[in-house]
Amino acid sequence: MNAPVDAIETFRAETRAWLEANCPPEMRRPLRSEADVVWGGRRAQLSEPQRQWLDRMAARGWTTPDWPSEYGGGGLTPQQAKALRQEMAKLGCRSPLNSFGISMLGPALLTYGTEAQKQEHLPKIVRGEIRWCQGYSEPGAGSDLAGLQTSAEDAGDHFVVNGQKVWTSYADKADWIFCLVRTDKSVKQGGISFVLFDMESPGVSTKPILLISGYSPFCETFFDDVHVPKANLVGELNHGWDVAKYLLGHEREMISGMGLGGGGHKSLPEIALDAIGAEPDGRLDDPGLRARIATFEVRAMAFQAMSERFMDELKARRAHPAQPSMMKYYGTELNKARHELIMAAGGSDALAWDSEASHGGAAARGWLRTKGNSIEGGTSEVQLNIIAKRILELPGA
């Protein structure tokens, strides 16, 4: 019993020392805006500290701590990976690399990919060399994702892909896409395949969508006779729905992380105290808002515990397979509630749209952005359907 505890404490101490020596001071400051997030990719423009931090972490495989070391991952045990996360949090280290390759495609490739696909793609994800985007939703296939129509015709050694995707996150900045295509029109779920291709392939074009936040993180993506080598099929032909569902679980986990908040310069109570002030005894001078914030913080801290529990259960392979739906539902609803409170706490200050003092309307735009959290990656209502059917085992309609 003592030996493993000692071993993990030794690992923790060594990790802390390494992080202290290797994490540049600039990478220990809270993120100010989306521009501070490192996504990697061919066209990434990184500051010197960002580049250093990414390269140092990638060299140890710690951009993907629990991936096998043969593909460039850190090869850490669940306990070690948890200790690394905790030590990074203690020092305030930013994530060296954020990517859909890490959070979504990688786990799917590890499970469904061929050896050649793993060797080809995983190390580049670890090092942040290729930025991936996800081609799932279509104009006619939102919540009913399996109704997708983008087609891939068999042309011998390759497929010819035609169709349109929508809500493709950062498609205009991505290097490669993992994409759901229809390879059989006669069956719904059973006619879907999962393919990978380069966004520079002839016939691919993207068009950013302007959102209510004023940002354009999503695109419409068009495929016009795009040639995709058959070697880029992940899993079996017409079995892409299995890969898609597996990957959606990981996407939901990632989105649920939004419920943890963090990243901001100021906490919610600090925003409210600065804007409204305190009574002589230190209590926020707005009892109604104070109570709402306190109740929110209760939920947020409870969700933090839930996230820890969920990660622990996942690593121990004892989480219910549909539990990511619960995490996604709760985390995104919580994040929306947080941003409603940030707006209430900031008052008219939070309404600013483009002034420098408001960091380009960070509060208002951030608030509007969160409204999509409970829509993207499967709406809250879809998650509730999944919980009802797969966890509570309630009868179908």
Binding site: A291, T295, E297, A302, R309, D312, L384, L394, P395, A397
Partner: protein, 378 residues
């Protein structure tokens, strides 16, 4: 430490669950209620708790206990909640044991063996007003002779009328609202001038009003430091709030399970009502709240067992979440059962009543959210 039960704890759960379900299912509680029984629990069952080692779970092995922690106590409490089992387990084996552990050797030797043996029942005399406000403790304890004279009133004291031992929060100095000047006492039930008036609550449990009319206690009845009892009281409150939250987890879990079963069996419009999306979504939302609450409660238990400095905050979160979630669980339970949920014959209403009492006990959700805000400096 992963945030789920380890193998030993899972084994304890596998033992506790059938044990309590067989010995004291909801029918047991109904029986006591319908007989207008005046003890408030079954002494036979309490003796069986002692045989299982539950009574002395938190007592060190040197004193004959099992030397376990809050996670293990929470496992038993969850089953108590699931079965609505009337039991002095929380006040005696969790609250009083934690209080006594902070006391002098004479006190622990006086009381712990009896608790372990299932011969001593204890109650916690903390609340004085209609709401849980421990800082406002005003019951006066004045120096007198070799000890103290206690004067004042307590209320909402579960098992107060049958307890052999009362853990009493009193004020030896300072004014109501101040942490300094609070002292904890271990008072015996037959103390002269002490009157307990039991009152039946909505959930059929018995809680007492206690009148202290110049009750004389010796100096060695003081648990810990005179005037410095706030820290000891806070430790007791942390474990009983967390324990109550664990019991509420059992109440919620049973309410949800019962409701989901009903949704799968009740037919209207020719189909199972569980196929209606309106009801599915409500049940699924409740499930999510319960999962998150369960994690918060286990987190608090683990941090308390590790003596972690963040344990107190985690405790506030656990009890606040439990308050909100259990309230939701029992309300949804009755609503989704429809008319039958309003009948005394059906169990769901009993869960609603127990949930309400536990939500109030040792502070409701608003109280704990307020405490968390103070803790965070706003």
């Amino acid at each position: 430490m992963p945030l789920f039960l380890n193998d030993d704890q899972a084994m304890l759960a596998d033992t506790a669950r059938p044990f309590i379900a067989e010995q004291a299912p909801v029918g047991h509680m109904r029986g006591l209620r319908d007989a207008a029984e005046l003890t408030g629990f079954s002494r036979d069952l309490w003796a069986r708790f002692a045989e299982m080692g539950f009574t002395g779970m938190l007592v060190e092995e040197a004193h004959g206990g099992l030397g376990l922690g809050q996670v293990e106590a929470g496992i038993v409490l969850e089953e108590i909640g699931r079965n609505l089992t009337p039991s002095p387990f929380l006040s005696t084996s969790v609250g009083a044991v934690t209080a006594l552990k902070g006391g002098a050797a004479a006190l622990t030797e006086r009381w712990l063996p009896g608790i372990v043996a299932g011969e001593v029942v204890a109650a916690l005399a903390i609340d004085e007003g209609t709401h849980h406000r421990p800082l406002r403790t005003a019951l006066k304890a004045e120096r007198s002779g070799n000890g103290f004279r206690l004067t004042g009133d307590k209320r909402f004291v579960a098992h107060g009328h049958v307890a052999d031992l009362l853990i009493v929060a009193a004020r030896t100095a300072g004014a109501a609202g101040e942490p300094n000047g609070i002292t904890l006492f271990a008072v015996e039930k037959d103390a002269l001038g002490l009157t307990a008036t039991p009152e039946r609550l909505a959930d059929a449990s018995l809680a007492s009003r206690l009148a202290f009319d110049g009750v004389q206690v010796d100096a060695d009845a003081v648990i810990g430091e005179v005037d410095g009892g706030w820290a000891a009281l806070s430790r007791v409150l942390a474990v009983v709030r967390t324990g109550t939250a664990a019991e509420m987890g059992g109440v919620s879990a049973a309410a949800l399970a019962m409701t989901v079963d009903y949704l799968k069996s009740r037919k209207q419009f020719g189909v199972h009502i569980g196929s209606f999306q309106a009801l599915q979504h409500r049940a699924a939302h409740l499930y999510a709240e319960m999962e998150v609450t369960r994690a918060a409660v286990l987190k608090a238990q683990q941090l308390l067992d590790a003596d972690d400095p963040h344990a107190e905050r985690a405790t506030l979160v656990a009890k606040a979440m439990a308050g909100m979630t259990t309230t939701l669980a029992v309300q949804e339970g009755v609503q989704m059962h429809g008319g039958i949920g309003m009948t005394d014959e059906y169990d769901i209403g009993l869960y609603m009543k127990r949930g309400r009492v536990l939500a109030e006990m040792f502070g409701d959700a608003d109280f704990h959210a307020d405490q968390l805000a103070r803790h965070s400096g706003y």
